[in-house]
Amino acid sequence: MDIKLEFGGGAELLFDNQKQYKITLENKKTPWLIGDLLFWMKDNLLKDRPELFLQNDSVRPGILVLVNDTDWELMDTVRYEIKPNDSILFISTLHGG
């Protein structure tokens, strides 16, 4: 299953400073949930300091997750079942002005 991962607001710094990844998730017996994806990202993409991205099996405070431009809170968060061609954006909130 092909999906798009996007990063912004500084979250891309944890992923080799790359704002977009096109990835392929191998088929598995159970559906791919965002919770599974987070661990996949930790194992496959996260360069260093995973605690700056993950905390207690979810993303750390201050990161907003958007699935196809919708807040993942409206999509059952880590339990959302990923569909082919989904675009999942991890955005770190900014505070400067």
């Binding site: 607001g9 500084g10 405070p61 907003l64 807040d71 400067g96 002005g97």
Partner: protein, 437 residues
């Protein structure tokens, strides 16, 4: 002689400006009384107001009723910086009746590329006074209230109990102030138009409006302090907060004129590097929210610096994690440059911008990784030195780098030293030609 004349002139100009500002405030008060005669050919507005605001009154979203609402409105802008300046310009231009602008900082040269109300002559003056001058010259018929004040729980509580604002604009630069303004707006039932910017990216939404979420609904827990970057460290392109400040003014006008389509419950992301705007749909107000939920636990303003584990400003706090014998003063640096290895641990962009001669650049971020430590030992070997001095912008990362490498190379015969206060101290104490940025 020449320097003395310059100093006197600067001082004189400053005091004359102060006098002009006072007299203008007086004049404005008098003119306000005198010119408060409605136009006999229209309702509620004056002849010059109709001419002045006609271009926006012709737009359906505003009209006569909208213009009357704008005139009767009070807006609080927190931060006279990259967001607050453009927001204030457009709101003053649009005829918002009362604009209060709060900031404690003074204008610095490094502000001018984005904080468009301030000019070269204002460097060193308070931002709110500089903002007042420009806004007042743009529109003398509205009330501009400059408040040079620290934004904290006590001052904001007081301000909001003395005044009722129709909209609050968050143009602040730190996490603690963002939680503070959010809670204050929820407790006082005011919409919060919140913008933020860093490097080429920016974000915008309206909190606490029309059943949309508040900041805490989205972010119940503050981010770890070491994940937060300021404009002073990360940098920012001027037009990026400029775009968002303009949009903050637009959202404010829409709220004040009761237009549909306010950006509440939605989150706008702007990436200037690709010129892409996108708008995401947000969760609604959360029933469990600590401040706006059904059973709030936050019923008055708190200590937000403690809550966030970070100061309510975007300045860097000095650390001291070394023994005093591990430090040298920047004045001693010149003597050691010849015989030692001096490692500047700032990132590459900063090093390229300006650096001392005969130094090598290994960024702190790299030093923490194996390849950086390797690079360091290669430099050490190539230089054939036993004394190593660490240097950075303000003397914090250099201590961290030293501490880390000392452990990695424990048991070696290398002596490690830190240049106290970094390049800022070098500029202050040794050579003012080294830029402070």
């Amino acid at each position: 002689m020449c320097e003395e004349t310059i100093a006197t002139l600067i001082k004189d100009i400053k005091s004359l400006k102060e006098q002009i500002r006072e007299k203008e405030q007086l004049l404005a008060a008098h003119l306000k009384v005198q010119s408060n005669v409605p136009c006999k050919y229209s309702e509620a507005l004056q002849t010059n107001e109709i001419a002045r605001y006609s271009r926006q009154m012709l737009v359906d979203e505003v009209g006569l009723a909208g213009q009357i609402s704008l005139k009767a409105s009070k807006v609080l802008i927190v931060g006279a910086g990259g967001l607050g300046c453009p927001a204030a310009v457009y709101l003053a231009g649009a005829g918002v009746g009362q604009i209060t602008i709060v900031d404690y900082d003074e204008v610095e040269l490094s502000n001018l590329h984005r904080q468009i109300l301030h000019s070269e002559d204002d460097v060193g003056a308070s931002k709110v006074h500089s903002a007042y001058d420009k806004l007042h010259s743009l529109n003398r018929s509205i009330q501009i209230i400059p408040l040079k004040m620290h934004v904290n729980s006590a001052s904001i509580s007081q301000l909001m109990s003395d005044n009722s604002y129709d909209v609050v604009i968050d143009g602040s630069d730190n996490v603690a102030t963002r939680y503070l303004l959010n809670d204050a707006c929820v407790l006082n039932k005011m919409p919060l138009v919140s913008g933020s910017a860093l490097q080429t990216e920016a974000q915008l939404t309206v909190y606490n409006y029309n059943n949309g979420p508040c900041y805490r609904c989205l972010f119940p827990v503050p981010p770890p302090p070491d994940t937060v970057k300021s404009c002073g460290d990360g940098g920012v392109l001027g037009p990026v907060p400029g775009v968002i400040g303009c949009l903050q003014a637009l959202e404010t006008i829409k709220i004040l004129t009761k237009s549909d389509g306010v950006l509440a419950g939605r989150f706008l992301l702007f990436d200037g590097s690709t010129s892409r705007f996108r708008t995401a749909t947000l969760r609604p107000r959360s029933p469990e929210c600590a401040v706006c939920g059904h059973h709030p636990t936050v019923k008055e303003l708190q200590d937000y610096e403690q809550f966030c584990g970070a100061g309510a400003h975007d300045k860097v706090v000095s650390i001291d994690i070394l023994r005093s014998v591990d430090h040298i003063n920047p004045q001693q640096l010149e003597k050691v440059l010849e015989d030692s290895l001096v490692v500047d641990v700032r990132d590459q962009a900063q090093y390229r911008m300006c650096h001392l001669p005969k130094t090598v650049n290994i960024p702190y971020g790299e030093i923490l990784k194996a390849e950086g430590a390797k690079k360091f030992s290669d430099c050490l070997e190539a230089a054939g030195k036993r004394e190593v001095y660490f240097l950075c912008r303000r003397g914090n990362d250099s201590q961290r780098a030293l501490d880390h490498l000392k452990q990695v190379f424990s048991g070696s015969n290398v002596n490690f030293f830190n240049v106290k206060g970094g390049l800022e101290a070098y500029s202050h104490n040794v050579d003012a030609d080294f830029p402070i940025y």
